[in-house]
């Protein structure tokens, strides 16, 4: 009996998670964060290259 209850609870939980994951606009936020990080890294790379030139 307890096992069945657990299984049902688990199924409900995964269903909820599924709903949460399927809110597609969440991926927009993930994309934005990735773009911001890539932008900052690009800036770091350009500073790195400039210092490289100065060292020569």
């Amino acid at each position: 009996m307890k096992n069945i209850l657990n299984i049902i609870l688990q199924m409900q939980h995964t269903a909820e998670m599924g709903d949460a994951q399927s809110t597609e606009k969440f991926y927009v936020v993930v994309g934005v964060i990735a773009v911001i990080f890539i932008g900052i890294v690009g800036y770091l790379v350009s500073i790195d290259r400039k210092i490289n030139k100065l060292e020569k």
Partner: protein, 218 residues
């Protein structure tokens, strides 16, 4: 050419940023989805610790060789470490507000971290207050050698001797249940390594700038 370890750092952080948001996490009371902060808040402290350790090692190297290049490295690793420590404090405060109900609690872990950060702020003040290059290098290296072990004891030993809200301390088993969770480890470890590499990259940029400055002055 951008060195391989910098690229590795970027890729690991990118992976941790994205997968940290998308992969499933254990559902725990109070923490709920904020458990994902483990991937962002905690790596700040790990990176800070590694940077400060590198700072102390170069302090010791300066004391044994007298080479000013080690002093430059020591100072810049400490600066980058302070930056990551500040990020750790602020992100921790946001997390605390939303799980414990207050930005700051008089928790041993929090107060120790704050004292530790003040010790390193004092280090920068000390450096800036000494004009003579050699004197500054020697005194700040000695200060560094003392402050790193004290800092380590403050944030890792003392909070464990008492009760603390912060996970991993005292009577709080908070993280024990998911410390061993492989889903969390899969993102957490790459995040720690990646952010540390980024921290060393930022320090590396400033070290090289400082070395160019020194060359011009000479």
């Amino acid at each position: 050419m951008i060195k391989w370890w910098k690229i590795t750092g970027v890729l690991l952080v990118l992976y941790a940023l994205i997968c940290g948001l998308l992969l499933p996490v254990p559902n725990l009371p109070i923490l709920e989805q904020s458990i994902r902060n483990l991937y962002y808040h905690v790596p700040m402290w790990f990176s800070m610790l590694l940077l400060l350790l590198a700072s102390m090692i170069h302090g010791i190297k300066y004391l044994s060789t007298g080479n000013i290049k080690h002093d430059v490295r020591s100072a810049e690793y400490a600066n980058a470490g302070i930056l990551f420590g500040a990020m750790g404090l602020v992100t921790g405060m946001i997390w605390a507000k939303n799980t414990w109900g207050a930005f700051w609690t008089n928790d041993p872990k929090l107060n120790s971290a704050a004292i530790g950060m003040l010790m390193y702020l004092a280090y920068t003040v000390l450096r800036n207050s000494i004009e003579d290059e050699e004197k500054r290098a020697r005194i700040s290296a000695v200060y560094n050698v003392f402050s790193f072990p004290i800092f380590t004891v403050l944030i890792f030993v003392l909070p464990r001797l008492t009760d603390s809200l912060h996970p991993g301390n005292g009577g709080n088993p908070g993280f024990n249940s998911y410390d061993l969770d492989s889903r969390l480890r899969m993102v957490f470890y790459p995040a720690v390594i990646g952010w540390s590499l980024i921290g060393f990259w930022i320090a590396d940029l400033r070290i090289r700038l400082k070395n160019i400055e020194l060359k011009r002055e000479a």
